[in-house]
Assembly symmetry: C2
Homo-oligomer: 355 residues x 2
Amino acid sequence: MGIKYLTDGHRGMANVKMSDIASLAGVSESTVSRALCDNPLINEATRTRIKKIAEENGYVLDLRARNLRLQKTGTISVVFPLLHEVDSGISDPFFLEMLGHLADELAERHYDLLLHKIGPGEPRGLIDLVNERRSDGVLVIGQSTQNAVINELATRYEPLVVWGAALPDQHYLTVGSDNYNGAVTAVQHLVGLGHRRIAFFGDKTLPEIGQRYAGYVAAIEQAGIAPNPALECRVPFDRLGARKAMNGFLDQHIAFDAVFAASDLVAIAAINVFDQRGIKVPVDVAMVGFDDIMLAAAYTPALTTVRQDIGQGAKAMVEALFSRLNGTQAASTILPTSLVIRASCGAKMLQNKSA
Amino acid sequence: MGIKYLTDGHRGMANVKMSDIASLAGVSESTVSRALCDNPLINEATRTRIKKIAEENGYVLDLRARNLRLQKTGTISVVFPLLHEVDSGISDPFFLEMLGHLADELAERHYDLLLHKIGPGEPRGLIDLVNERRSDGVLVIGQSTQNAVINELATRYEPLVVWGAALPDQHYLTVGSDNYNGAVTAVQHLVGLGHRRIAFFGDKTLPEIGQRYAGYVAAIEQAGIAPNPALECRVPFDRLGARKAMNGFLDQHIAFDAVFAASDLVAIAAINVFDQRGIKVPVDVAMVGFDDIMLAAAYTPALTTVRQDIGQGAKAMVEALFSRLNGTQAASTILPTSLVIRASCGAKMLQNKSA
DNA sequence: ATAGTTATTGCAATCGATTGCATTTTGGTT
DNA sequence: AACCAAAATGCAATCGATTGCAATAACTAT
């Protein structure tokens, strides 16, 4: 006699299934199924024997079959604004960092991560995705301008969590940073350095940016400075549009001594445009960004910015989603931010003023 | 009488299945199945009738069931070096751009994209992924140091395509840029500008970087310059390590007038470190990068770099993978690169020389 | 009308797992 | 030895689609 093995074919990967293991072990499929998931109904001895056989024959269960039977997918969709067209997109490193953390959190729960890109012109994408029921839940990173679509969807689809700003009439769970207070802190910092004419760079029609703008205004006013609409530069997301907007702003020759940029990417682009026109950061103008992407620290000059804790954010999103899946109540979360001070807004201005 | 509808429950999403449509239409499931996939066996009239009923009742087929039956998954795994730990990782924007393009290519072919993060310390991850057969094929972005594992896997698993350098004893298909010639062009450009003491910044133990290094050496020698090992700075991937390596290089006070950085990220970090020590790019030192990530153009100074066509790369990878899935032969691909000249290595040096 | 085609449709098995219930085996008790 | 409870295992239905083959309906030509 001797131990029987299933020979795996030429392709190397034998298509071993549960019934094969069952016959090898001389038991029924039910027993194998139960043994493999440590069901206590099965005798300790048989259980280990079966497991050993399964192991030796390289058995792995077929998730399609299991999920079909269990009526689930074992998958979470992550919807992502992946914009990469030359003229319409900047791959924000912030998203990649978020994605990495989400991948971790989901892997820990043994869920797969199905990635869906969604472009600016395809609002149906999200709806279809849900209709096809390929996943047990959906995480949306960045509602940007789609919040109407998302909101409509949310009224009939529960397991949906969105990264971004919490808005008033919102039916869906959000996890996001405290944009308002983050902005307040940033602007207060600039004020503390002696800056008075602080420009706002960003597109405040986007929900998150709108909140940052509100914080900017509040901090300005609180410092006793009159908000000046001329100091606002509406910077779109695409690179060319951004440069154009910034150059247009500079062409107006409005005096300003600092910029609060709505994201690090905007800040970086601004520094670049300024540089080309001979304006040096931080010597001539102080600059604060938002996000603290990895590159913020590596930029020249290193960027002072409002840090969002992406790891926490990812964790909160996944937790909220699984609460919904389990029927537990869960509330939207607003995560605290912190100001990271680097070279892009040195203390020089303060010294100038006091001198 | 009147048309019958399946009422969808409170949750909004009715769980309509094919058998429901069958009874509504008064036909068998087989007929519905065939009608929905435009099988010509089915009468034109019934086909449209069934489709209409399916549409009205919001029917969508269950992919698990279909895939189980068809013995496939409809999914491609994308394995991704998502490193985000503070001390071990930089999220290279290059990867996100690639990911976006892959998402497009796969979506076009109606395949889902399953994302798997793989950390530096988990070589088994890739193997397990394949064993679990959750996807019909695997795309690996960046072999980095894992090529031994990948190679072993490739001997028994066919539908595998890797982004990266083509290496001698490789059993797997690769798609990658022409690292060698890209580097040659970059260095020739520096030479043409009059630079003689060109440093190499990067970790040449990684396959892709190794090829770029080879190109660097070749171009140097071809210009009649003796390669100087002291001009090589081995820059690791983590930020702190990178800074340390660069500072160490500067501490040796070896004269150099230009840097060929193995990636844009390295170039960016280098400019930053140089700046902190009073070395200005491009005034004091010229800098060329590799990749042409979005940020290269937005950096200050804008980065001269070797552009990789990521869109083409993604396309080639997916095409190669599907060839394998269809049993067609496919060969590894090497994509051409192009040099993008920007501010980081201006023509100043040349003028200095000729003056 | 009738046999012979051809165009449609249905039956039933199948993909690979899970699980309620029935059944067998084992062990303990008197 | 007989019986009962408890432990271990097996049977068979099920998840929702696809498809070879059989069966029926609709025509065509004689």
